[in-house]
Assembly symmetry: C2
Homo-oligomer: 311 residues x 2
């Protein structure tokens, strides 16, 4: 085996009441990375497609490169690897684009080198790449992209990551309006102090969401999908958010939230049909606003990244 190609899914971080602690993976969109053995030692990025020329080839600035260098150092591998990155996800959209690239690269390289580490052990290397891409070593995109399903990041120090149960039939729609949102702005609108009663409400909602996932109780999931901490100040930056929020409930969707720090909005639904109807409603809302939008409907991915080709 000289070459492995892996897929890693798009992800939604900050799942409403799961602000800063919860993410989930999406089945049908993601990035592909091919990693090949090379004679020359070290990691080289040799091809990037689908990024409109915006991503760096320089290995210490490319998330695939950063992740792989850390991985190779950890397993003490002295050989060489070449990386080809095929972007399926838009950059800076809040759909975990940088995470999908580094996770796919790690999965491909780990398989290529005979699985020296198990999947969960790859997480710190992907987090390191997030540090380069986003300025902070967040796990809420890389962990679900790697492991699949809903992933709880209970704590960073020490790192404590748990994969939660995913109910059958859970679908999502992602709504990506064509506008750039500055992550720094999105962070700066957050209050640094929250009222005690809001902290308690948020606790109740995240507890309800987790219980709803395990009990496969769509009603409880729906009632729990309320973020009283980040959404009130962040949603004003996202055109159409309030209209979508009220409209999608009428077609039976479970709830809506900001994906990552936006501008993508995610919708959870109890079936593909409902997710599709919700997606159509979003199209109408954005048509009225006059803003172009990409819409995706997908099951929740439960297996995380996986190999699609070995040669």
């Amino acid at each position: 085996m000289k070459k492995v190609t892996a897929f890693a899914p798009a992800t939604v971080a900050n799942v409403s009441c799961g602000f800063d602690i919860l993410g989930f993976a999406v089945e049908e969109m993601g990035d592909k990375v091919t990693v090949s053995l090379a004679d020359e030692p070290g990691v080289r990025v040799v091809r990037i497609e689908g990024d409109g020329g915006r991503l760096p080839y320089e290995v210490d600035k490319n998330t695939c490169g950063v992740a792989l260098k850390a991985f190779l150092a950890a397993i003490d591998y002295k050989g060489g690897l070449e990386v080809e990155l095929y972007k399926g996800l838009p950059l800076g959209s809040g759909m975990g684009s940088s995470a999908a690239s580094s996770v796919a690269a790690l999965e491909a390289a780990n398989q290529l080198l005979g699985n020296p580490l198990d999947k969960k052990a790859l997480l710190p290397f992907a987090m390191k790449a997030e540090g380069v891409a986003c300025g902070a070593e967040h796990a809420d995109n890389v962990a679900p992209s790697l492991l699949g399903g809903f992933v709880l990041i209970r704590s960073y120090h020490p790192l404590d990551v748990t994969k939660l149960h995913v109910p059958k039939g859970l679908y999502c729609a992602l709504v990506h309006p064509h506008l750039e949102l500055n992550t720094a702005d999105s962070r700066s609108v957050l209050r640094q102090q929250v009222p005690l009663k809001d902290a308690i409400t948020q606790s109740g909602n995240i507890a309800g969401l987790v219980a709803g996932l395990y009990q496969e109780d769509m009603g409880l999931i729906s009632r729990s999908l309320q973020d009283v901490i980040a959404e009130p100040s962040r949603s004003v930056l996202i055109p159409g958010f309030d209209e979508i929020k009220s409209a999608i409930k009428e077609v039976g969707a479970l709830g809506v939230g900001i994906s990552g720090s936006g501008p993508t909005t995610f919708i959870l639904a109890p079936s593909r049909e409902v997710a599709e109807r919700a997606s159509e409603i979003c199209q109408e809302v954005f048509d009225k606003i006059g803003l172009e939008v990409d819409l995706y409907v997908s099951a929740v991915n439960t297996k995380g990244t996986y190999v699609i080709n070995k040669a």
Copy 2:
């Protein structure tokens, strides 16, 4: 059938990171209430034992009386009931004493009158009694005493109560030092604004605790039992708390927290043996402080209140 006696268990509210939203029921301690048919219409409290003469017989001040009056009004029952209350729980201890009384009274009366309501529908009447006993219609003692197990109160408006899964082998120890704690003091020490990072930590911990219960993952439960919101300011009111907290981990207990608003401390453990060893350690701590203490070791009750006698 003219007379029914029901038992309702002690409960722990404010389960560490589940501050204000989570409670659980204890198997082996509780109150008993006998409700009998009477000729004269209305509710009368005719006997109270085990309270040291401190509880009122007046029906609008007694939690059994308040709960039953509300229940009878709801089912439009015009007959009479007599109530005998046998307190098994100390008053004002933070073990859900008032809740156990009203819940046992409701269960006995509901069974006596042929089960006009299902168990969950009794909750609002017990909450009304809590309003009289504690000044606020909290559900975090009455809901677990009624339903058993760990109960999440996600929201009060509207009331949204969910019974969570309880892992096999989960035991608790309750440590009740002989001192009175003023609930108003205990409430007033709480900050009304919480740092954003603490709110996020609390969210992560309650999500981890709920996931740990469903996954029967004692390690995750243990790591999640950390309250960064109420405990830091409240625990200073409870002598011995910090000593207990560090000592019980060494014998394999999962964690410790303040039961309700104290002064009782609860300990969760993965077996009866560990709960008993933890309880012995608490005895030593309080011997050193020179404060008398009652110790209880029990399984977590999973069925809530139940009838023990019909005649």
